[in-house]
Symmetry: C2
Subunit: 257 residues, 2 copies
């Protein structure tokens, strides 16, 4: 199993605090030693850092922790390999261009006997995760050759996630930089921080941050993670089948399949 980290915010926000907690699970407090990756949207651009090395030992992870990149939408992942060897091409998140946007995807779980039909998007590596991502984009592109809003796209995303989930475990995060879609098959949690902001304390590292000092009263910052990252706040736990579409930190649509 792997761990997911997502962020959706209404202002460019530094995710170093949550990333620091997650990275500890990559070989420190958790067993996810088989690589990690994080993608930060910057306008329509996507800044991607990845390493097949364990995150607690990764030089690139240390850079990301030192270098506060501010972004409105982030997708991160640490990996404990079950399908596919440990190498860069099997490292999440995966990225493809669709409709002139960078789509970014990370998956927690595994799919048994998943052999989707060939399509335009083809996996580079050999994970079931990237195969599912390519299949998802092939479905979207098949249904909508031209760009549509996320709200119109939702039925295709939900139906695909519903089918993947029949084949195993499929928790995922997907974004095109404007919106963030989250789907829970077994385990996912979220928290939305807004004024009045308080202190937060990481479960996995000796680190506390006072968000009051780091934010303005209008900031809305949602963090999504496989398991709650802090131990002094109340996280919302997704139920199996729950999906949420986020934009600028707020829920724009949600449901259960």
């Amino acid at each position: 199993m792997c761990e997911l980290l997502g962020m959706s915010a209404n202002v460019p926000t530094d995710i170093v605090f949550s990333f620091t907690g997650l990275m500890q699970r990559g070989g420190g407090t958790g067993p996810h030693r088989d690589g990690w990756g994080i993608g930060f949207y910057e306008g329509r651009g996507l800044r991607l850092f990845q390493d097949p090395a364990a995150s607690v030992e990764s030089e690139v992870a240390r850079l990301v922790q030192r270098y506060p990149i501010k972004s409105e939408t982030v997708i991160g992942h640490i990996r404990q390999a079950n399908v596919g060897k440990v190498c860069l091409s099997n490292t999440h998140p995966f990225v493809r261009e669709l409709w002139g946007r960078n789509w970014c995807f990370a998956h927690n779980g595994q799919l048994a006997g998943f052999e989707p039909p060939k399509g335009f998007y083809t996996p580079v590596g050999d994970t079931d995760s990237e195969a599912a991502f390519c299949n998802l984009l092939n479905r979207v592109r098949g249904a909508f050759p031209e760009a549509v809003m996320a709200e119109i796209l939702l039925p295709v995303l939900i139906q695909a996630c519903f089918e993947y989930r029949q084949k195993g475990v499929f928790n995922c995060l997907l974004s095109d930089g404007d919106w963030l879609f989250s789907f829970c098959s077994t385990k996912l949690a979220h928290i939305t921080r807004r004024a009045p902001f308080g202190p937060a304390r990481l479960k996995d590292a000796d680190l506390q941050v006072d968000f009051q000092a780091e934010t303005t009263p209008n900031d809305v910052v949602t963090v999504i993670a496989t398991e709650p990252l802090t131990d002094n706040e109340t996280w919302n736990i997704f139920q199996p089948g729950d999906w949420i579409l986020w934009r600028r930190g707020e829920i724009v649509a949600q449901g259960r399949t």
Copy 2:
């Protein structure tokens, strides 16, 4: 105008020496302050570092210089913007997946009145360079729906470069990780280092390296750059219209259009 840097080698090779020289031109000894990027192939995976900030001031560039990533194929670029604003989505190199491989592209020059037909690959940013890359991949995909060897692909690449060159300046580097294609419209140089290796001294920084100490007798390492990066070696200067296809540091095909 921008500067290109490419490497093709028969063993995973550290490009820090050449990268250090190039980075000095990003706001130091050269005027290319509008971002930089470098992609390193690692197997079928591609490790991409980019920054819209000037390379001499870039924290990410310092990481790349400190952290010797070894690769057989590298494409780098520093930018002096002429078309498109300075932002991450306009920063080279550009990447797309085709036939389950990561294709990476960087361009030096500009194209006037370049409005290619819409196709499957769509630019994310607003540079003529990314538009040309997308058009090139649309042509390749149109001609060859399934993967073919680079040698079979060459006529499509050369014809496309020939046409782009009619519209302005088009020096470029393109790779799928297995081969590296270089095209010169106005300015490009290359050098192949092999045994017996000697010392090399950067033109743009006070740095000398003794490749003898860094290599084995079987290593073959080709570096391609807009202008020679060292001042004590003899570089080969491309003539306008020259193209070369490289694999593992060696020329596998070349010609002039």
